[in-house]
């Protein structure tokens, strides 16, 4: 999706330069939400202000929105059909496989040292008891605390921040 947007915006339409696009992408990744949707909103805002942002976000969201309405309608219409029931049994398994796949992929960039590994192992049982958003927030907080402690003892700083900045965010 992202290479597709970049090609269209930078090469075909020449709305942004490559550097501008890289900046927007980095920013879009930092914010909550889908990177593609955030990038589209950024581009719209960059080109035509608030109006451009609204048009861009509608443009990128509406096609899938309508597809989802149609698929959702079909699902609720056919959900008790035995063939469809069987299909969803099979699909549920694939969903789990997809999650395992994306967990492994994201682990490659998120688990960079012992503290991050420890945080991962700790977070899984905790998630069964505490609201996921709270755990996410605690994780961010721990990251900042860890960083400010390292900064205070300047001794570790160079190597630790290098590792942090290089592989995360």
């Amino acid at each position: 999706m992202i290479p597709f947007i970049t090609k269209e915006i930078v090469e075909n339409r020449k709305w942004l330069t490559e550097e501008e696009m890289a900046d927007l992408l980095a920013l879009a990744q930092t914010l909550p939400g889908s990177v593609a949707v955030n990038t589209a909103t950024f581009i719209g805002y960059r080109l035509k202000g608030l109006y451009g942002a609204i048009v861009a976000i509608m443009g990128i969201s509406l096609p899938t929105f309508f597809i989802m309405l149609v698929l959702g309608g079909l699902y609720y219409f056919f959900q008790s059909n035995p063939l469809v029931k069987g299909a969803f049994r099979g699909m549920g398994t694939t969903i789990v496989a997809l999650m395992v796949y994306s967990a492994i992929k994201i682990a490659k960039t998120s688990i960079v040292d012992k503290p991050t590994f420890f945080l991962l192992v700790l977070s899984i049982p905790i998630l069964f008891y505490i609201h996921p958003l709270v755990v996410l927030f605690i994780g961010a907080l721990l990251g900042i605390i860890n960083w400010s402690i390292l900064r205070r003892f300047g001794f570790f700083q160079k190597q630790a921040t290098k590792r942090m900045m290089g592989k995360s965010g």
Partner: protein, 179 residues
């Protein structure tokens, strides 16, 4: 009901860091706690959402909204989950183009990304339990589910198939062997 949908998804949208599958357990948690659906029904909807293009989190949000309150619920939920990032994009653009260089942001992500990973693992355990992929009974059906699971992983890692294609393929296999 509509305001409940809106605010639930607005909060989720605010916290949807990491994107994709990381936010699914949050939506699942809220949907089940509100009594909107069971984990199993939610997994079905994830299957539907995964077949379409677009961010899976927004897709699933549209489906949950649709199942609760028809197309109006779908619109309200979709706007709810999209609005926080929309507002943030505009806010950030207005006065913080150098935001990404702030070391504190990287530090926060350093701590948040392992939790995002944990979230996805947590979600896969939950969904595996709800869909019988983890079970203590070794029936023929269970063995076939595990086989399908391994086949899916193989298609993802080795064959590099598109996820939507694998979902459709396993749906077809499922329709044949489980109906």
């Amino acid at each position: 009901m509509l305001t409940d949908l809106f605010f639930t998804f607005f909060i989720i949208g605010l916290g949807s860091f990491g994107g994709g599958y990381a936010i699914l357990p949050v939506i699942e948690h809220e949907s089940v706690h509100h009594g909107w659906m069971t984990t199993q029904e939610f997994t079905h909807l994830v299957g539907v959402a995964g077949m379409a293009p677009g961010p899976i989190a927004t897709n699933i949000t549209v489906l949950v909204g649709f199942s609760i309150n028809g197309w109006l619920g779908a619109i309200v939920s979709a706007v709810g989950i999209t609005l926080p990032s929309f507002l943030l994009v505009i806010l950030i653009y207005s006065f913080l183009m150098k935001f990404r260089q702030k070391k504190a942001v990287s530090a926060a992500f350093y701590g948040m990304k392992p939790v995002v990973t944990g979230l996805i693992i947590f979600a896969s355990i939950k969904f595996a339990l709800a869909n019988g992929v983890i079970s203590i009974y070794f029936t023929i059906q269970y063995i076939s589910l595990v086989a399908l699971f391994i086949l899916s992983l193989f298609a993802l890692f080795k064959l590099n198939w598109h996820p939507a294609l694998i979902i459709v393929a396993s749906g077809m296999i499922g329709a044949v062997i489980y109906s």
